[in-house]
């Protein structure tokens, strides 16, 4: 049994410890925000955070994550009380098919928690591992910028 801390809750997972986190999130815990895009760390659709660091959940086995707080999009807020990142993405309507978006949000979340004053160039560089096929990039950048404002206490 592997004990994981996900979105503030402790869960016991009965799975092969070599199983990458993504499969546990989706198949065992019903947390479907993180997506399977490639399973190879090439697209970033699976991005979540562990201890505040953005990771490819398709590549990190759960045995490596015991005792480290994992956060997914579902942990950023609720439909009734969305967190700043979710609020910003809704305001900017930053999604077309939406497949890349949770990964984008979590990578941006990791960046802004570490570097609240990240410049535009730093945001672009940080999001480089996350691919978007629909071309939503400009809206995503606007959303991250807005999230920055909201996280600083803006309205």
């Amino acid at each position: 049994m592997t004990r994981l801390q996900v979105n503030g809750r402790t869960v016991e997972v009965d799975a092969d410890p070599a199983t990458p986190l993504l499969y546990i999130l989706r198949n065992d815990l019903g947390l479907n925000a993180a997506k399977f895009g490639c399973g190879l760390g090439q697209c970033g659709a699976c991005t979540v955070t562990a201890g505040g660091e953005a990771i490819y959940s398709c590549l990190v086995p759960i045995s490596a994550l015991e005792g480290r707080p994992i956060v997914t999009v579902e942990g950023l807020g609720t439909p009734e009380h969305p967190g700043p990142m979710q609020q910003a993405f809704m305001e900017a309507q930053a999604a077309q098919c939406g497949y890349c978006i949770p990964g984008m949000m979590m990578r941006a979340q990791a960046l802004l928690e570490k570097t609240p004053g990240a410049t535009h160039d730093e945001v672009r560089a940080a999001l480089e591992p996350n691919l978007c096929r629909c071309g939503t990039h400009m809206r995503i950048l606007r959303a991250v910028s807005r999230a920055q404002e909201l996280m600083k206490g803006g309205r």
């Binding site: 590549l59 045995s63 480089e128």
Partner: protein, 385 residues
């Protein structure tokens, strides 16, 4: 328009400029003279040395901030003596100790090339080197050996050409030969390995750690593409080298490859002690994080370098592998290739050390020492940037 200098009017033939472009690619000028995200040759690239950080200068033909006012004589002096037109010394991080061997017409071609680049107005950050420039004169007395390279009659013209390219331009030895406390090359240990920018530059001679002995086709392919199926991928400082060599004349790269391969006289592998034992946890981490790409074979979609014979796994220290795992390997901006993802943040230091120890056990060499300490040291180095 630049005014006439003591070389007469500045007009260069296309052939000369193209020749200069080829030489600049072999010399890898662009990497040290271009900042990350900066304009080509406009300087600002920080080169960390044991003596402090030196920034590559602006060598575009801008008259105020670049070298636009330089004559051919000024340029020649910089390359051959490491002196600026104003008479002060460049730090030997600028490899003039190699360029000093360049033939006159090659220097002329390089001059034609740099003087026809786009002028960029850009000042370069201050260096943080504590050694006074005058001390470089002392260093030069000991380490700067001026004059042409001696040709080796026991080898053919092509080998000698490769030797010339390696020692006067590509400056492989700058990183791949150990240096003494003054930062000068230990000539007696030529190509026995060294370091560059926090990465290990493997030995290229009889001490080569490569599990697969280099052949000419493999080395040629590596230098032009950075990728050899069985055992090698270019990463760290070699990425810039390979990126530039991919634009050089194939015949020149082949001559360079031939010279380097001739240095790897494979002696008995005394470093091959008992293979280290894999740990269960390391195996499990590998299965979850690495196996899917690294075990499926290169040809298959998404396939990555099989690790059993990979050079990074066979090096004396895990330093390069730590960089590769933490930072990933990203293709160049215009390149569309699969990349090694960055695993920074994915593992605790202890787990990463287990994982690296496991990958080491896949190759045929004895265990690395203090892997966890090296993981921490590498991270600290990175934070100091």
């Amino acid at each position: 328009m630049q005014s006439a200098s003591d070389t007469g009017s500045r007009s260069f033939s296309t052939a000369q400029i193209e020749r200069g472009a080829n030489l600049a690619a072999i010399g890898n000028c662009a990497t040290c003279h271009t900042a990350h995200g900066g304009r080509p040759f406009a300087g600002g690239y920080p080169l960390k040395t044991p003596f402090g950080t030196v920034h590559g200068t602006n060598i575009t033909p801008d008259r105020e901030t670049g070298i636009g006012s330089w004559s051919l004589a000024d340029f020649t002096r910089a390359l051959r003596e490491g002196m600026s037109p104003e008479g002060h010394h460049y730090y030997p991080a600028f490899p003039y100790a190699y360029f000093t061997h360049l033939a006159d017409d090659d220097i002329g071609a390089l001059y034609a090339f740099v003087m026809t680049r786009e002028p960029v107005r850009a000042t370069v950050p201050a260096n943080s080197v504590l050694v006074p420039r005058l001390a470089v004169a002392v260093w030069n007395a000991k380490y700067l050996h001026r004059g042409a390279l001696a040709s080796d009659a026991s080898h053919d013209a092509d080998w000698n050409h490769g030797h010339y390219l390696a020692e006067s331009l590509a400056h492989c030895s700058e990183c791949h030969t150990p240096r003494d406390k003054l930062g000068g090359e230990k000539r007696g240990e030529y190509l026995s390995g060294g370091e560059a920018g926090g990465w290990e530059a493997p030995a290229l001679n009889e001490h080569s750690p490569s599990p697969v002995p280099w052949t000419l086709p493999a080395m040629d392919q590596y230098l032009r593409t950075g990728l050899v199926d069985r055992h090698a991928i270019s990463a760290g400082p070699m990425r810039g080298v390979v990126e530039n060599l991919s634009h050089a004349l194939p015949a020149d790269v082949n001559a360079l490859a031939r010279y380097i391969v001739s240095m790897e006289r494979k002696g008995p592998d005394t470093a091959n002690a008992a293979r280290s034992t894999p740990s269960a946890r390391g195996e499990q981490l590998y299965a979850g994080a690495c196996g899917d790409c690294h075990d499926r074979g290169r040809i298959a979609e998404g396939g990555a370098l099989p690790l059993k014979e990979a050079i990074a796994v066979a090096l004396p220290t895990p330093k390069n592998l730590i960089h590769i795992v933490q930072e990933g390997i990203t293709p160049h901006e215009d390149g569309a290739q699969p990349w090694m993802p960055a695993f920074r943040g994915s593992f605790t230091d202890k787990d990463l050390a287990e994982l690296l120890a496991y990958t080491r056990s896949l190759g045929g060499k004895a265990a690395w020492n203090d892997v966890q300490a090296q993981v921490q040291a590498t991270r600290k180095e990175g934070e100091e940037k």
